[in-house]
Symmetry: D2
Subunit: 435 residues, 4 copies
C-alpha cells in the first residue's frame, strides 16, 4: 500500500482498529446466539456488548500480548477480557480463531467491494457524460495504429462505458462470492458450536453462511474475487492506453487536465505528459499481480494450512486500495480530459480522402467489378495518396477504369462523413438505453 496511491476511505477498512472492531462484533453476535441457545448466560452476552461496544481497543496493548502468545486472536481475547471482566470467559466458546479471522476478511472485502463499486459508478458517470458530449465529434478510427475509417469520440467513450458496466456486474458478482461467513469450528464440523450460531452471526453482519467450510472459508471464492479485480484493472489500462495515445505529440487529440501550478518536467517546461494515465498503466500491473498468488492460494492442505494468510495480508489491502485509487484517478482524468476536436479533424484529413477507400471498394464491387479488380483499382489510387501526397478523390475521378464503373456523383457521394456516423444513435441506444 503506497500512500500516494491510496484513499483514506479504503485504507481505513484495513486498519487494526477496524479489524478489532469487526472481531468484537463477530464474537458479540456469537454470544447473542449462544445465549439464545442457552449455552451461555444472557447477561454475559449483554455485558460483552455493553462494555465492548463502547470500548476503544488498544492496538498497542494487543500487540504487546501477541508478542508473548504469538497468536493474534488469543491476544485480542486477552485484551477483551481486560475490558469486559469475568464474563469474557463466555466469549469465543466452541469457536476457532479462523472463524473470526476468515469472517472478518470477508467483511473487509465486502466493504472494499462496496467502495470500489462507488468508484466504478463515478467512472461510469464520467464516461457517460463525455460520451454524450462527444457523440458526434468525428475522429478517425484506427486499427493497428493506422488510420482506418471515421468514428466518433462519443463511441470511444461509449465502449469504455459498456466495458466498465460489465466490470460493474462482475464486481457485484465478485462481492457476492466473498460475502460469506463461517463459524464452524476447528475443522468445520460444528462439533463444538451449533450451526445456528453461524447463521445468526452471518445474518447480523450481512453475510451468507458458508455451506461447507473446513477450518477456513474456501479460497476459490477469493481467487475469483481477485481475478475479477485483475480484469477491472485491465480495463482501466485499456482506457489509459487510449488516452496516452491521444496525448502523443503527433496525435494530440486529447490531453489530461494540466493544473496551473503543475510542472511537467524539470528540464522541458513546455511538456505536458500523460502522467496520470501512465501511472494507471502501472497501477493496473500492480492490481493484476495479485491474481496469480490468489489462484495459488486455493489448494490448501487438508482442512487448511496457513500459506494463504501472508498472501492475503498483502494483497487484501494493497490490491483493493490500489484499484480503488485507480478508479478515482481514472474518473478524474475522464471528467477533466481536454478534448481537441479540431485536431481530430486535422488527423482525419491527413491522407487526403484515403479513409474512404473501403466505401469506394464496395461501390466498385456493387457496380459489377470483380473483387480482385476492385481491390486493385482502389489500391492503385490509394498508393498515390500514400506515396505522393495526392488527393484520393481527384485521383479516382481521373482514373478511367474507375470511372468506367462509377460516375463522378457516385464517387463524390462516397466521401460523405455522415455515412459513417449514421448508426451512432443505434449504438448509443444499445449502450445507454433510451435514457
Amino acid at each position: 500500500m503506497i500512500p500516494r496511491y491510496s484513499r483514506p476511505e479504503m485504507v481505513a477498512i484495513w486498519s487494526p482498529e477496524t479489524k478489532f472492531r469487526i472481531w468484537f462484533e463477530i464474537e458479540a453476535h456469537a454470544c447473542d446466539a449462544l445465549a439464545e441457545l442457552g449455552v451461555i448466560p444472557k447477561e454475559a452476552a449483554k455485558t460483552i456488548w455493553d462494555k465492548g461496544g463502547k470500548a476503544t481497543f488498544d492496538v498497542a496493548r494487543i500487540d504487546e500480548i501477541e508478542a508473548v502468545t504469538k497468536h493474534d486472536v488469543i491476544a485480542f481475547l486477552t485484551h477483551l477480557a481486560e475490558i469486559v471482566g469475568p464474563d469474557a470467559r463466555f466469549v469465543h466458546q466452541g469457536m476457532t480463531s479462523s472463524d473470526v479471522l476468515d469472517t472478518t476478511l470477508n467483511i473487509q472485502l465486502v466493504r472494499a467491494a462496496d467502495i470500489m463499486l462507488a468508484g466504478v459508478d463515478r467512472v461510469l458517470a464520467a464516461l457517460k457524460t463525455r460520451a454524450f458530449e462527444h457523440k458526434d465529434t468525428v475522429r478517425i478510427g484506427r486499427s493497428h495504429g493506422i488510420h482506418a475509417e471515421p468514428t466518433t469520440m462519443g463511441l470511444t467513450f461509449a465502449r469504455f462505458y459498456a466495458e466498465m458496466d460489465r466490470n460493474r456486474a462482475r464486481l457485484v458478482a465478485a462481492r457476492k462470492e466473498i460475502a460469506t461467513g463461517a463459524i464452524s469450528g476447528a475443522v468445520g464440523t460444528f462439533a463444538n458450536i451449533d450451526p445456528r450460531v453461524e447463521e445468526h452471526v452471518c445474518t447480523a453482519l450481512g453475510l451468507v453462511p458458508e455451506p461447507v467450510s473446513t477450518q477456513v472459508i474456501p479460497r476459490d471464492r477469493h481467487a475469483m474475487f481477485f481475478a475479477t479485480l485483475g480484469v477491472i484493472a485491465s480495463s482501466i489500462e485499456n482506457v489509459a492506453i487510449e488516452i496516452r495515445h491521444m496525448q502523443r505529440t503527433e496525435v494530440l487529440e486529447a490531453e489530461e487536465f494540466f493544473s496551473p501550478g503543475q510542472k511537467g518536467s524539470s528540464a522541458m517546461p513546455h511538456k505536458r505528459n500523460p502522467v496520470l494515465t501512465e501511472n494507471l498503466t502501472g497501477l493496473a500491473r500492480l492490481v493484476r499481480m495479485s491474481v496469480v498468488p490468489a489462484l495459488e492460494n486455493v489448494a490448501l492442505w487438508h482442512e487448511r494450512d496457513i500459506s494463504h494468510s501472508s498472501v492475503e495480508r498483502a494483497i487484501g489491502p494493497d490490491t483493493t486500495v490500489t484499484l480503488d485509487f485507480a478508479l478515482h484517478r481514472l474518473a478524474g482524468v475522464i471528467e477533466k480530459l481536454v478534448v481537441y476536436p479540431e485536431n481530430m479533424e486535422k488527423n482525419l484529413n491527413k491522407f487526403r480522402g484515403l479513409v474512404h477507400s473501403q466505401r469506394v471498394l464496395l461501390a466498385l464491387t456493387q457496380a459489377g467489378v470483380s473483387r480482385e479488380d476492385s481491390y486493385r483499382l482502389v489500391q492503385r489510387n490509394a498508393m498515390k495518396v500514400w506515396e505522393e501526397g495526392k488527393d484520393f478523390l481527384e485521383e479516382l475521378l481521373a482514373d478511367q477504369e474507375v470511372r468506367a464503373a462509377l460516375s463522378e456523383e457516385d464517387i463524390r457521394e462516397k466521401f460523405d462523413l455522415g455515412y459513417h456516423t449514421k448508426h451512432v444513435d443505434t449504438i448509443f441506444k444499445r449502450v445507454f438505453g433510451n435514457a
Copy 2:
C-alpha cells in the same frame, strides 16, 4: 495442446475444418440478412448456402492461397468463390475480416464452455456419489498437516462438490461473457453494413450482438473467461493435492485406482504413485498460465491491434483442451478412488485420544476454570501423549487438577466420536439440498 492431455471432442472444435465451417455459416447467414434487406439478390444467398453448405472446404488449398495473400480470410473467400461461382462476389459485403474471426472465436469458446460444463457435471456427479458413500466414514481432520479434530471423508467430498458447483456457476457466467458476436465493420460503426445483419447472424448462431464493438469484440470478455478457467483449474489442484496427501505412504487413506497392467516404476515394482493427481497439479499450472496473457490482451490500441491474436491462437485451444482433459481425468480419479476407511481409523488413533483435547478444554472452561488455566491443564496432559506416548484419557483421569473440575463420566463423554459427526446431515443438506 499435448496429445496425451487432449480429448478428441474438444480438439475438434479447434480444427481448421471446424473453423472454416463456422466462417462459412457466418458469411452465409449474413448473406441471408443482406438479401432480406435487399442489398444482395436472394438467389445469391440461396446459391451460397446450397453450394457452400454441402462443400468440404479444402484446408490445403486455402493455405496455398494464404501463402500468397498473407491474409487468411481473403484466402478463404477466394476458395469459397471457387466453390460457389460468380455469386461469391456478394459474400462478405460491407464486412471486415474481424467480423468473421471474432465471432468465430466466440462460437468456439461457447462450444468449448459447453463441453467443459459437461466435464464439470461429471466431476460433480462423481463427488456426490462418493460423498454419500463416505458420509459417515470418520477420519481425522487436519490443519497445517497436523491432526486436529475428527471429520468424515464424506464432508471432504462434499466441500469439493460445493466448490466445483460454484465453478459450474462461474463457467456458466463465463460462457455468457463470450457468447456475443459482432458484424460491425472496420471500426465498429456499421458504416457499410446494417446492424440488422449483425442481429440476424448472432441470433442464428446462438449469440447476442455485442452492444458496441470496434473492429473487434472487446477483450475484457475473454480475460474474464480465461480467469474463470484459471479458478476452476485451481480447484482441480485443490482436490488433487488432497488425494496426493491421502496417498502418501505414511497416510495411505486412499489411492488412485491402479490398473493391473500398469507399472509404477521401472525400478520399484511395489510403488503405486498418485501420478494422475500429480499430473493434474501440473495441468492446473498450464491452465492458469493463460490468465495473465489474457489480461494483458485487454488493452488494445485504439479500435484494435492484433497483439491479442497470437496469444489466443495458443491459449484458445491449449487452455480449453487442457482444462477439459483435466476435468475428465479428475472425474475418473474420483469415480475410482480406492478409499481405506481402516487406515483412516488407524491414523485417527495415532495420538491416543489427543484429538479430543479441544472438547476437554471447552469442558474445563464451562466448568468454571479460567481460559488460561484450562489451556494449561490440557496442554500439560497433551504433551505427555505427544512426547511420551501416553494415553490422553488416562492422563486426564489421573490429573487431580482436572478431576477437581470434571468427573470421570464427564471426561469419558468427551471422547465420543459421534459428537463430531452430529451435524454432517445438516451440512449435506446445505450442499446437496434435500435430494
Copy 3:
C-alpha cells in the same frame, strides 16, 4: 506450439525421433561406462551401440507398448530389446527412468539455447547494421510520448543492441544453468550405479554432472532458464512497441517492409499495418506466460513428484519454439525496416523550436537568472508555441526579459541540432567498442 509461429530447426529438437535418439545415446554411453567398470560385458555395450546406433526407432511401436505398460521408458526399453536382442538386458542397469528423462530434457534445452543464441546473434547483427546506418539520422526523442529533445535513430538501434547483448549473456548463463545431467538412481544416492557412470555420460554429451540430485535434476535450474526467456521476450516486446509507435499513421517514421503481394486489409487496401511487431507483442506474452509455472515447478515433494512433467511437456517445446520464431521474425523486421528520415525531420519540427527549450532554460540559469525565473520565462514563451503555433526562436528573441539575460547570438546558438548529437560517437564506442 503453433505451426505458423514455428521454425523447423527448433521443432525438430522436440520430435519423438530426437527424444528417443537421445534416450538411446544416454543408455548406450552408460553401458560403455558400466562395461569399463566391469559391471556388464564389453561386448554387450558394443552390440548395443552397433545395433541401436543405426536403428530407426519406431515411434508408433513404442506408443503401442506404452499403451499397455503406461510407462514411456519401459516402452522404449522393450522396443530397444526388440532391436538389440538379448544384450538389451544390460541396458538401464541400476538406472531409474528419470535419469534418462531429465538428462534428455536438459540436452534438448541446451540445443534449444544454442539455436536461440544464433537467433539473438542475427538480431544483434541486424541492429548493429541499422544502428551505424542511422547513426546520424536525427529524430525527436520522446518521453511520455511527448516530444522532448533530439536524438538519433542510430541511438535507438544502439540501445536495443545493448539490451539484446545483455540478453545474449543471460542466455549463455541460462544455458549453463541447465547443461547438467544426472545418472544417480531412484533417489539420487547412486546406490545402484557408480557415480563414474554419470560422469562418463555427462562428459560424452557435453553436460556437467549435477552435484547432488534426487530422482530428478533440481528445478530451480529450469525456473531460471524460463525466467531468462521471459526477459528476452520482454526485450523483443520493447523493440516491437517502438516500431509500432513509429509506424502509427501520425508518426510514420518507419514501416515494416511490405511485400508486393501482401494485402493489408480485406477492406482498406491502402493500409500497411505493423502486423509483425504486433504479433511479436503477442508472442512475448506467450513466452512470458511460462515463467510462473516454471517457478511453481521448483517445489517438488521430497525426492520428486511428477507435477512438473506436464508443465514441461508444454512449455519446453512451446516456449523455445515461440521465442526462437520471435527472434527471427524480429531480425527480419529490423533488417528490412523502412526508415523515413524526412518524416523524422518533419516531426522534429512540429512545434517550431520547442525542443530546444531545455537548452534555453539552462542558458538562462547560467546567465545568472534564478532557476524559478528561468523556468517561468521559458514556459511563458513555450506556451505561445504550444497554444498559438508561434515560433519559439522568434518569441524568445522578442521577449525583453529573456534578452536582458541572453544575446540574439546566444539564443540562436541554442537551436543547433549538432549540440544534441555531439556524444553519439562516445555512446557508440561504449556499445560497439572500437570496431
Copy 4:
C-alpha cells in the same frame, strides 16, 4: 510491505530519509565533476557538500513543496536550496530528474542485494551445519510421496545447500545487472551534460555507467533482477514444503522449533503447527508475484514512459523486504529444526523390507533372469508385503523361483542399508568441496 514480515535493516533502505540522502550524494558528486570540468565554480561544489552533507533533509517540508509542484525532484531541489543557499543554483545543471531517480533506485537495489546476500549466506551456513550433522542419518527417500529407497537427511540438507548456493551466484549476477547509473540527460544524449559527469558519479557510488540509456536506465535489468528474486523465493518454498511434509502428524520426522510461550492453536493446545514454513510458502508467492509486472515494465514507450514507476514503488521495497525476511525466517527454521532420527527409522521400516526391492530386481537381472521375469518376481512378493503386511525378506527367501536365481546370502545382502549410503561422502565432496 507488512511490518510483521520486515526487518528494519532492509526497511531503512527504502525510507524517504535514505532516498533523499542518496539524491543529495548523486547531485553533490555531479557538482564535483561539473566543477572539475569548469562548468560550475569549485567553491559552489564545496559549499553544497559542506552544507548538504551535514544537513538532515526535512521529509515533511519536501512533501509540502511537492504538494504544490507535483514534482518530487523539484521539491527536493527547492528544499536543498533552502539549506545550501544561492550556490544551489549550480545543482542539477544539465541533468534530468530521472538521472537522479534511476540511479537512486539502482543504489537501493544494490544495497538490498547486499543485505539479501547476507541472508542467503546465513541460510547456507545453517544448511551446511545441519547437513554434516545429519550426513549419516538414514531416512526413506520418497518419490510421489511414496517410499522409494533410503537416503540420508544430510543429503536433503546438502541439496538445499547446493540449490541455495546457485541462488547465491544468481543473486550476485542480479546485483551486477542493476549496479549501473545514468546521468545522461533528458533523452540520454548527454546534450547538456558531459559523459564524464556520469562516470564520476557512478564510480563514486560503486556503480558502472549505463552504456546507453534513454531518459531512464533500461528495465530489462530490473526484470532480470526481480526474476532472480522469484527463483530464490521458489527455492525457499522448496525447503519449506519439505519441512511441512516432515512435520505432518503421520510423518513427524522433524518439527519447527516450538518456543515455550508459544500457543499453537486457540482450540487444540497440543498442536504444533509448521506455521513458519507455511508462512514461507505464502511469502514465496508474494515475492514471485513481482516477476510478471517487472517483465511488463520492460517495454517503455520511446525514450521512456512512467508506467514502470508505480510498479517499482511497490515491488522495489515490498519484494526485497519480503525476500529478506523470508531468508532470515528460513535460516532460523533450519538452525533450530528439531530432527527425529528415530521416527525416520520407524518410517523407513513401515513396509518391512520393501525399500530394498530395487536391489533385488537388479540382482535377479544380473543373475540372468530376464528383465520382465525379474520384475514379475519382485512385484509378486512386494504385493504380499503391501497387501498382507508380510516381511519382504522372508517372502523372497520362501519364493522358489527367486531362490533358483539367488542364494539366501545373496538375498540377505540386498537388505543392507549401508549399500545406499556408500556414496554420501562423494556427494558431500561435490557440494561442499574438501572443506
